[in-house]
Symmetry: C2
Subunit: 337 residues, 2 copies
């Protein structure tokens, strides 16, 4: 096994001490321009690469970020990609961790316990789970959340669900719909809460009374979406319900599955809008009216904010919350009544 080139070799080759070489590497001050250049040249000719592990051990900086989310959801995969691309610029690495849906707090802690990170990117399944939150509050690292308002954490990066859901509801209202179902996830997470808030506001601003029964919450899976949809079918058939707005991409798949199963069509039998654009939704016939957001950019933004926290820890929790804008794109999945 061929020995690696170490800082000692560079010191020897350049004729300076290892301290000076270290300073040159880390572009710390206290090195004359001339020396720095000579050392850099030595590094170049020797092909020296600092041992990242040894650096970490001494400096307690790891250039490593943990990503907690279910990457099999293309949305999180895109966010991960965006974040990785950004972190890479600064020499940081993104490490994946899939915490399922149970014992989330424990899993996160035990993941972090045996590994070293400088920061965390996180999408927690619930905001008000005290067990999870207790775990989160024990983490002594900057954490940037994805679309979650976790009481024990500073605000992270969020999507502007409110404006576009409101636009969408208003659009349906204008088309004459009144029996509008809102399908979201757990009511204790931001996307659902913001969606519901927008739903309420849209109705009341139009002086309409809300039927709370029309607000459905499940979990972010197609199975859950399908189940909710099937329960809705009788009301769709008797025209009590004429439109559905889904707040989640995966649930929307389930809705479409349910429609197919029940031989229902949109927009004839029910009008449809969903959150999160995709090639699928454009390819379906008719193409689906959606709320879109720039997902990969979200990842970039998340990484940027986290890096700021890592580099200036005193800023943690003091930065203004950042919200990603959304876009309401009308296609052909809604009809006027």
């Amino acid at each position: 096994m061929k020995r690696n080139i170490t800082i000692k070799d560079v010191a020897h080759h350049s004729g300076f001490g290892i301290g000076t070489v270290s300073r040159a590497i880390n572009s710390s001050e206290g090195v004359s321009q001339a020396t720095r250049e000579k050392i850099l040249k030595s590094i170049e000719t020797l092909g020296y690469k600092p041992d990242h592990i040894a650096q970490s051990m001494r400096s307690q900086k790891y250039k490593n970020v943990a990503f907690f989310a279910d990457i099999s959801n293309p949305v999180f995969a895109q966010i991960a990609k965006g974040a990785q691309l950004e972190l890479e610029q600064l020499g940081y690495t993104l490490s994946l961790c899939n915490v399922g849906d149970k014992d989330v707090g424990d899993k996160i802690l035990s993941f972090l316990e045996v590994r070293k990170f400088d920061g965390v990117i996180l999408s927690t399944p619930r905001e008000d789970d005290w067990k999870i939150n207790k775990a989160l509050s024990e983490i002594e690292l900057p954490i940037v959340t994805i679309n979650r308002d976790v009481p024990v954490l500073p605000p992270g990066i969020t999507t502007d669900y409110y404006s576009s859901v409101k636009k969408a509801i208003n659009y349906l209202l204008r088309l004459g719909h009144r029996g509008i179902v809102l399908i979201g996830g757990d009511k204790g997470i931001r996307p659902t809460r913001e969606g519901i808030r927008a739903y309420h506001d849209a109705f009341s601003e139009n002086n309409l009374i809300i039927d709370e029964e029309l607000i459905k919450s499940g979990v972010f899976t197609s199975e859950s979406g399908k189940e909710i949809f099937l329960d809705l079918c009788p009301y769709i058939k008797n025209k009590k319900i004429t439109a559905i707005l889904s707040l989640n991409n995966q649930m929307f798949y389930g809705i479409l599955q349910g429609m197919k199963e029940k031989n229902l069509n949109y927009p004839e039998d029910v009008s449809l809008i969903t959150f999160e654009d995709s090639e699928l939704l454009q390819l379906l016939s008719p193409p689906v009216t959606v709320i879109r957001r720039p997902i990969q950019e979200m990842g970039t933004k998340i990484a940027k904010v986290l890096m700021k926290y890592i580099q200036e820890p005193e800023l943690y929790g003091k930065l203004d919350p950042d919200t990603i804008p959304t876009e309401f794109i009308i296609r052909d999945s809604c009809k006027a009544i």
Copy 2:
């Protein structure tokens, strides 16, 4: 900053030397059962967690695996998830790296240069690019490839494209199709090569002459798929071409886009089959006939093999190649002629 519990504390608390403690932690031999238990108890009561960085520094083992692929493709995202879940079992971490499409070799090398890994999971964009392969051959780590036959690397995990593509072509042949287009990616990568081989074999086993012009290759993007499709349109209209088999999910999106744009329908105007199942393909009407493979399990398998190489380096390159089976699922996107 509260000091961490170190191996010294455990040594002190248990009354043994740090060497013995270390041996107990690593379950190396040379520790009596009684001592081991006492030490384990001390570790428990103190809540000691070995410093993974210090361990790495001494042992040159990092419990870290690099994943090179474009995770914005849901297929790779799923593979990454499967691999992560498996690696996690053994305390290993999966770190992401997105190498785009140019300077791939350099990017991989520079990523690996400044970080420490025990192994690599890789999907290279080409198999015969000497620059990439030169880079790959310089990597002194076990590498498991995803569906690639890279000359300078041992075989990794592959999918059985051959059998199912053959089944698919035979199916189309039986339906009376002769103008069957095969759309794949770069001819220098395994999936395309295997697809073409199956295509050839299916035709010749049926004593049919192949029109090489019907084998189209592009890149794995929807844009490329669409472009190829649009070129095909005249022949579809004059019935020279009656069926298309796409070897890639992303390209298939492009084909569907093209169809939509040209107001063509399947299976009326052209029969369609694609590789890689998804909810989309089942929701489209009519649902699309596909070749399916268990993607997440692929990730698991990849991780397992890599772990074997990491734990027993002498096995590297000596294990039998592993091939993931595929399934041909007939739905309603092909009609008889």
